[in-house]
């Protein structure tokens, strides 16, 4: 009897409460606003949230269904990331964006089992590009190996097509993330004839005296950096200290934000980094963002990161998620999609320049399409250079394509090895 009353009360409460959780599209954010990597986590989380808020405020959600945002703090800690996942996995999360390679590695088998798609944009497990093995993981529009290849292709352009006899030092965060580009750079070194010197930096990377003494002794022609957090400004400061030519110092896209160069001041002038998307406020979308989100006081965080590199990346990740949700709605003919339907949307996503312009982001990201055989998009990236006087990043190249044949070959080897280890029979889901 008591149970009946309780059930009736609950049912009445749900009716009075209005739209239920099932009437929303749940986009969780595994963010890190605290801890040693907060400076990078905050702008990404703000950009991700602001774009979703914009879609709710301007468009009334996706296909008429409002977006429900939740945020779980990981502090860039793998254990806490897994705990976050456990807390939301039964709440219909449409797509996970862990923003951590360590968390990604832990969640790949779990999301496969639970049937929840994961998007690791420019990070995570590179070989997830093979959608026949990693059905639920997507890493479009580019991955680490693409990034390494784009840097080498850029340097080839700078050196009249030959890197024969050149010496390239890789300064990397001594973690799974930092070691990701080593196989690609090694293979490309065999092809292009440059010598690769790998130099690890212990996390978090505040002390790099030994590493830069080694770079000074080795006298490399170029230094490539795979850093994150405090490692980046420390490295750029050390490079300025030893008077290493800054135009020959190139970071991955996680080493190319305002947070990385501003603390160094004028010493960072000329430093280069990969860009997987545009940056700055010079895009029509910011008119709407200003009107519906910022002026309305509905921005995430403090609202002072709008337009920065990592804010732009968060916004881009949210934009790709929303477009995938629209695709899923289109494929399945229902507005209230499930995680499995969302996966189908991601697996059939097509981003064209026309669509980007329509969304208010012309020339912001590359055009690409996703397929079962390629969950990684085009892999193209641009090179940006820091102007310390103006305090802004300037794009100095157009989109540069990676050596995709080599990368797909390596990704295939790695993913098939993963499949064999985990008893997975490679196959497309749809």
């Amino acid at each position: 009897m008591k149970m009946t009353k309780l059930a009736a009360t609950l049912a009445a409460t749900m009716v009075v409460a209005g739209p239920t959780l099932a009437d929303t599209l749940h986009f969780p954010s595994l963010s890190y606003r605290t801890g040693p990597f907060a400076a990078g986590g905050i702008p990404f989380a703000d950009g991700y949230s602001d774009y979703l808020t914009l879609i709710n405020e301007r468009d009334g959600g996706i296909g008429g269904v409002p977006i429900r945002q939740t945020e779980c703090e990981t502090a860039y800690n793998t254990e806490r990331g897994v705990e976050c996942y456990q807390s939301i996995r039964n709440d219909n999360p449409l797509v996970l964006q862990p923003l951590s390679t360590g968390i990604t590695y832990q969640l790949i088998p779990r999301t496969m089992e639970d049937g929840i798609p994961m998007h690791t944009m420019g990070y995570g497990r590179t070989s997830a590009v093979n959608g026949e093995v990693f059905n639920w993981t997507f890493n479009y529009p580019a991955n680490y190996w693409d990034g390494a290849s784009v840097i080498i292709n850029y340097l080839l352009d700078e050196n009249d097509g030959s890197l024969e006899g050149k010496k390239i030092a890789l300064l990397y965060h001594n973690s799974a993330y930092g070691r990701e580009p080593i196989p690609t750079l090694t293979r490309l070194g065999e092809t292009h004839g440059y010598e690769l010197v790998t130099i690890g930096v212990d996390s978090p990377g505040q002390e790099q005296g030994s590493q830069w003494l080694q770079i000074r002794r080795e006298r490399p022609d170029y230094v490539v950096m795979w850093g994150w957090g405090v490692m980046n400004p420390t490295a750029i400061q050390e490079a300025a200290n030893i008077r290493f030519p800054m135009e020959n110092f190139i970071g991955v896209w996680w080493s190319g934000s305002q947070q990385d160069v501003r603390p160094v001041g004028s010493g960072a002038h000329g430093y280069k980094a990969l860009a997987m998307h545009g940056t700055g406020m010079d895009y029509p979308i910011y008119d709407d963002m200003q009107q519906y989100v910022i002026d309305a006081g509905k921005y995430a965080g403090t609202g002072d990161e709008v337009g920065t590199v990592l804010y732009s990346r968060g916004m881009y990740a949210a934009m790709l998620a929303v477009e995938a949700a629209k695709k899923a709605q289109e494929i399945h003919g229902v507005a209230a999609i499930t995680p499995a339907m969302m996966r189908d949307g991601m697996a059939n996503l097509e981003i064209t320049e026309e669509l980007m312009a329509e969304l208010g982001l012309p020339n912001f990201g590359p055009a690409f399409s996703v397929a079962c055989e390629n969950h990684g998009g085009s892999g193209a990236a641009m090179i940006q250079q820091w102007d310390a006087e103006a305090g802004e990043w300037n794009l100095i190249t157009d989109w540069i394509e990676p050596d995709r044949d080599l990368i797909m070959e390596m990704a295939m080897d790695d993913s098939l090895a993963y499949a064999a280890e985990n008893d997975i029979t490679p196959a497309c889901l749809n």
Binding site: R33, T34, G35, P36, F37, A38, A39, I42, N174, T198, I199, G200, V201, D202, P204, Q206, E207, G209, S210, Q211, W212, L213, Q214, R216, R217, G229, V230, P233, T234, Q237, A240, N241, I242, R243, Q259, R262, P263, V264, G265, G267, G297, T302, G303, D304, E305
Partner: protein, 328 residues
């Protein structure tokens, strides 16, 4: 001179200057441990908080502006003026003294006669509180810190060593300054503890709390004094490390570099903190130089803790620590 020897010499010199940077952090731990027997887990966060406050004052940032904006819907950020460094540093010192008073009043006072582990746990709580409080007060973005100290390669050292050896050594001018500042700091602390009334009281408390109390020394005042000095030392460490890589929350992790230094030098010795820092600095640089080609890089943290472990096995009180005598 063979190249290898030159490179090793250069690595050693850099190790010495890096060691001074580690010692600056370790000094704060020693001061508090000597006076109160507390291993202050919050020392790294104190350095971060001091540096955040200094940058906040320098840039004229409104404290708690993010919180005020969120609550009142305002758009406050800065006062619109910059405070000169010569004023910002004393203002930060005052904040650190205020913090010391609050720590004594709200934490230490209530934990008199508790076990050391209880006091240690309290400092862990303080560390987490201060980390969040600093975030709310000044924001979590990376901040550039410039107090006018020179940075970059010392041309004088480069040219002199080039003239002698045909190879110019690299030494960061900031670290040369850090060595000078550490020397002044140790001299001031020594003069203070040896020749002032408060310094003698501090030493008396360090030797025996009960005996010091019996001759009328106020334990509460001494604790405030100690935490204030540790706060000022934390400010110096925060300035030096913040000038290297900006002020951000990773700054609190510099405490991790101080632990092996303390194990080597002893938790109760100011000269021990300096010597321990120098040994760790030179040792890790030379180890990296010679072993890098064999086992790869990124060995600095590993080496420091391995050396500390070896010391723990053979001399647990450290080089200059008080000998541990257990009577049964």
């Amino acid at each position: 001179m063979p190249d290898t020897l030159l490179f090793a010499l250069e690595a050693s010199l850099n190790g010495l200057t890096a060691g001074v940077m580690y010692a600056l952090v370790a000094l704060g731990f020693v001061l508090i441990f000597k006076a109160s027997g507390i291993f202050n887990f919050a020392q790294g966060v104190l350095a971060l908080f001091a540096a955040l406050t200094l940058v906040g004052f320098q840039s004229g940032q409104i404290p708690f502006s993010h919180l005020i904006n969120a609550m009142l819907g305002t758009r406050l950020h800065h006062f619109g003026w910059n405070m000169p460094t010569v004023l910002a540093i004393p203002a930060t010192v005052l904040v650190m003294i205020g913090l010391a008073i609050l720590v004594e009043r709200f934490i230490l006072k209530h934990l008199v006669n508790q076990e050391p582990i209880i006091l240690f746990m309290a400092t862990i709580g303080l560390a987490y509180f201060l980390e969040g409080f600093g975030d709310i007060m000044w924001g979590a973005e990376v901040k550039a810190l410039d107090v006018g100290l020179p940075k970059g390669m010392s041309s004088a050292v480069d040219e002199a060593t080039f003239a002698w050896f045909g190879y110019g050594f690299y030494i960061d001018r900031l670290e040369i300054w850090a060595a000078g500042i550490a020397a002044v700091l140790v001299a001031v602390l020594t003069v203070f503890s040896q020749y002032t009334k408060q310094g003698r009281a501090l030493r008396a408390v360090a030797d025996d709390h009960q005996a010091a109390l019996s001759v009328g020394i106020s334990l509460r005042f001494i604790w405030v004094l100690t935490w204030s000095i540790a706060g000022i030392v934390a400010l110096v460490a925060g300035i030096m490390w913040g000038s290297k890589s900006g002020v951000q929350f990773s700054l609190s992790l510099i405490a991790l570099k101080a632990l092996p230094v303390l194990i080597l030098g002893g938790f109760t010795s100011i000269p021990g903190a300096i010597v321990g820092g120098l040994i760790i600095g030179v040792g890790e640089k030379l180890f990296d130089f010679f072993m890098n080609p064999i086992i790869g890089g990124a060995t600095e943290n590993w080496f420091a803790y391995m050396l500390a472990l070896i010391f723990l096995l053979f001399r647990p009180q450290g080089l200059f620590g008080e000998r541990i005598i257990e009577r049964v």
